[in-house]
């Protein structure tokens, strides 16, 4: 806990040219196609979303985005919750262009700040799968296990 606070305190944002290409989310709390349809239709109202491909059997949604749009993870979350359900898994596919990841630095993409958890120093290049660990983006059980402190809106704890 203490180390995380230190980590935030020393975090240093790096603006970079990276693009969110796709999001895969898994919804929880539902077993019916009408419920899945409610999520599907709610997601499609977001102006930065190009398409939603729903897998009704597994309650997963593959979301792709319009070119040069700013992707808002919190808006995606509130659409799922508005439809009456929760997110139990949220993976963003981000295209990095040679980004040096250091232990005490965060990464900023558009309006999103990513705080990498449990990383070693490396160069991110190409499409990477980033899993969000914030409250409401993973199951409550998983969230309780990590117990990250509150982060300001637009700031996300992530793992690769």
């Amino acid at each position: 806990m203490k180390t995380i606070f230190l980590f935030i305190a020393t975090a240093f944002s790096v603006a970079l040219n990276a693009q969110v290409t796709k999001v895969n989310l898994k919804a929880s709390g539902l077993t019916c196609s009408m419920c899945s349809n409610a999520i599907n239709k709610a997601l499609k109202t977001l102006d930065f979303i190009e398409s939603v491909v729903a897998d009704i059997k597994t309650y997963t949604f593959e979301i792709s985005f319009k070119a040069n749009s700013t992707v808002d993870f919190d808006k995606i979350k509130s659409k799922v919750e508005g439809a009456g359900f929760s997110i139990s898994g949220f993976t963003a596919f981000i295209n990095f262009k040679k980004v040096q990841l250091k232990h005490d630095e965060s990464v900023t993409i558009d309006n999103k700040t990513l705080l990498f958890v449990n990383i070693h120093e490396q160069v991110l290049d190409g499409i990477k799968e980033i899993k969000i660990l914030n409250k409401g983006f993973i199951s409550p059980k998983e969230y309780r296990k990590n117990n990250y402190p509150y982060s300001s809106p637009g700031t996300y704890y992530v793992i690769i």
Binding site: S28, C32, S33, A42, T45, G82, F85, S139
Partner: protein
């Protein structure tokens, strides 16, 4: 006396047979189910920004008469936010010889507990209903869905575990005098009751989801009870329902409500109901 005993015996036997078949049906419910119950509401809400329209037709058999009581109840349901649903109904019926508008009600539900997991949830909600009715009061049963003026407050718990949904409602109802100077004639001490319900459902088709346009068929059984806190009189009804969901957006429920046991005056407890419903998503 012998005839009476025989009649009583055959009644008891048919009641036992019915109980047996209901128990058998409940046991046969194994996996896959829906919580979109017909005569009760689940703790879950309507999607935020959605508007649903429902037309409820009840064709009830009036006791000791050849008359059929037809009730038509249109309803509008609005998903105000992720936690709040409000609904409004208008009551029409032909009870007073002519088919006419008799009243309406406003309903609100607030979901206060959500515990979601993959393909499961446990949710709880609190709800309230205010009803107005101008018809004459003709039964001890307190029914705020088309008969009495009054109010209801209750809680709902709905459990969805590995595709089996079970829901229960517990509420307090208070009847007042109806409009048009139609008094509640059974005394104010008998104007309050407790309602409790248990509902269970099963998805019969499709066996596997592939697309939103697949028609879903659900079978449900709802047990509906009322105990009057003044007189102690009660009823217990059962309602088997077959529900079809088209295009993941429209619903048709066909069911039959049957009194299992009661010692209160009721005018027309048994009959068929057909409910048609369509939801428009993301209206606002």
């Amino acid at each position: 006396m012998l005839l009476f005993n025989q009649l009583q015996y055959s009644n008891i036997m048919s009641f036992r047979k019915m109980k047996f078949s209901i128990a058998f049906f409940l046991i046969s419910l194994s996996c896959h189910s829906q919580e979109l119950f017909s005569l009760t509401e689940p703790a879950s809400n309507r999607p935020a920004g959605s508007i649903g329209f429902r037309i409820d037709n009840s064709i009830m058999d009036e006791i000791n008469s050849t008359r059929i009581n037809y009730h038509l109840i249109p309803e509008i349901m609005v998903g105000v936010s992720k936690k709040i649903t409000i609904a409004a109904n208008v009551f029409f019926s032909n009870r007073a010889e002519v088919f006419r508008k008799e009243g309406g009600c406003i309903y609100a539900k607030y979901r206060f507990l959500t515990n979601d997991g993959v393909q499961k949830h446990f949710r709880m909600a609190a709800y309230g209903r205010i009803s107005f009715n101008n018809s004459d009061i003709h039964q001890e049963e307190i029914d705020l869905y088309g008969h009495n003026t009054g109010l209801e407050m209750g809680i709902i718990a709905t459990k969805l575990a590995r595709k089996v949904a079970i829901s229960s409602q517990l509420s307090f109802v208070k009847a007042n005098d109806n409009g048009n100077n139609n008094k509640f004639i059974y005394g104010s001490v008998n104007s309050e009751a407790v309602n409790y319900t248990v509902s269970i459902g099963k998805l019969m088709l499709p066996k596997e989801y592939r697309a939103y346009r697949q028609t879903n068929i659900n079978c449900m059984v709802e047990i509906l009870n009322q105990v009057n806190t003044g007189s102690g009189k009660y009823y217990m009804d059962v309602a088997p329902v077959v529900q079809m969901i088209f295009n993941s957006q429209s619903r048709v429920d066909i069911g039959y409500r049957k009194e299992l046991s009661s010692n209160m005056i009721r005018t027309a407890p048994n009959g068929f109901f057909i409910r048609l419903e369509h939801t428009f998503f993301n209206v606002f």
